[in-house]
Amino acid sequence: MAIALRGVRKTYKSDHGPVEAVAGVSFDVADGEFVSLLGPSGCGKSTLLMMLAGLEAPSAGHLAVGGQPVAGPRRDAGLVFQDATLLPWLSARENVLFPIRMMRLREEAYRERADRLLATVGLRDFASRRPAQLSGGMRQRVALCRALIHDPAFLLMDEPFSALDAITRDEMGLVLLDLWERSQEPGRRKTGVFITHSIREALLLSDRVLVMGRRPSVLTADVPVPFPRPRAPGVQDTPEFTAIVARLRGMIEHNLRDAA
């Protein structure tokens, strides 16, 4: 299902008067497309994602998913946050099944799928462990599986790897790339929106990168990613990859200079 935003604004009330977090953003994400929103921290990217998930209402503008305006929380979205936000007293498997429980669906019907997802991200032997017994990267893998358990039409990710160390982070990028490309079945393609401030991560994972400026955020560039899928990890070492990284970095630095 496609996503369309037209002139979306979000203003918060604060003690110092209204604060504009998102200032008139318009873009489209095609059905089955993976798009990254790239920008510095605190540029209103998270607010944008919360509005897409239907967890916050825009102050102005129009937001539609699959042709329908977003009116409230959508069950067909999978969410991943910066922190894994797992329930500490549940096992990895129970955490993956948590959305099923909250949506009052039959857990037994999804148990096998939960184990399959955990195996895909290399956690076959850790399904019964609690979060405290898992590393940060493993916890975030559990969160990815949890977001995919009900086979959502959208995957919305808010800087899911930015709390991890650099090595784990690179590894998680490849895990997500693999998970994403495997889950794109013909006839039932997922649409992904990925928020990040890592240029390389955005480029590795996306079909298109949207560059955002400082708060209040506006879109400053729309860059298509030319690498075909399925992508191999080696794509990151090609000269084209390095060239696009440099171009995107130039755009972000330009935005920061303008804001200063």
Partner: protein, 274 residues
């Protein structure tokens, strides 16, 4: 190659055993040292009382208290029963009503604005001073002691539980909202389990407060109970009996606290963060 690789691992077990030995040594120190210190204080007490021939009315030796404890045992037991039951009753009511009010505070903004500052106010005032009022209102029977014990055990439960119910990470609650979980589901699956460690720290305070409440009530008016016995023994200048009753009270207090601590262990083994 594999032999080489496993060599350091093979060397590890003795090191691990040494670590375990050190841990056992630490444990013995942690239990043995306070016991040894307490024994030393009792020994010094016994020695000083004998050395300076302190009259038993002023301060009986620990051995004299122990003798009184043995001789008055059935008597102490009889008086311990009403004290224990009233404290237990007061505590259970404080736990139930305190949790109920905390849930109301967590879910109703109006109730929170109206009640929470007042709850904090009552938590801060010396509630012991209100004990005579309970006798005036509820009479000299066990009802007034039960009610007073409930009253002073109630506030720590409310405050700890209300704090705990606000402890769930906002992103977790957002996730529940995204999956259209009902408020009841969010409460039972997320908010209350997150509150449990707080609930138990409140309950542990409440159980000690509940005993204090009953004793104060018995000091004011009662025909039985350990508080009554302490006051009675004081009027007869039976200092050894006072101390024996206090020892019995310690046992009651430890037993009730132990029950709560045991419940905490069992519940947090399931809902803990490890």
């Amino acid at each position: 190659m594999s032999d080489l690789a496993t060599t350091p691992v093979a060397a590890a077990p003795p090191a691990r055993a040494a670590v375990r030995r050190a841990a056992i040594g630490q444990g013995a120190l942690r239990i043995g040292l306070p016991l040894a210190f307490a024994a030393a204080v009792l020994g010094a007490w016994e020695l000083l009382v004998r050395l300076y021939a302190v009259p038993e009315v002023i301060l009986p030796a620990p051995s004299a208290v122990a003798a009184r404890l043995v001789s008055a045992w059935p008597f102490l037991l009889t008086h311990a029963v009403p004290t224990t039951l009233e404290a237990l009753g007061g505590f259970l009511l404080a736990a139930a009503l305190g949790t109920a009010l905390a849930v109301l505070l967590a879910y109703s903004r109006l109730a929170r604005l109206a009640l929470y500052p007042n709850v904090v106010f009552f938590q801060l005032i010396p509630k012991i001073a209100l004990a005579p009022l309970f006798i005036v209102w509820l009479g000299i029977g066990s009802t007034s002691r039960l009610a007073f014990s409930l009253f002073i055990g109630f506030f720590p439960v409310v405050i700890a539980t209300a704090t705990g119910l606000a402890a769930a990470p906002p992103e977790m609650l957002r996730l529940c909202r995204a999956y259209s979980a009902s408020p009841w589901q969010v409460f039972t699956a997320v908010r209350f389990p997150y509150a449990l460690p707080f609930v138990f720290s409140g309950l542990k305070i409440a159980v000690t407060f509940a005993i204090i409440g009953v004793i104060v009530g018995e000091f004011i008016t009662a025909q039985a109970g350990l508080g009554y016995l302490i006051l009675f023994a004081a009027s007869q200048a039976e200092t050894a009996l006072i101390l024996a009753a206090i020892a019995a009270l310690c046992v009651v207090g430890l037993a009730l606290y132990g029950l709560v601590a045991l419940a905490e262990r069992l519940v947090l083994a399931r809902y803990g963060h490890r």
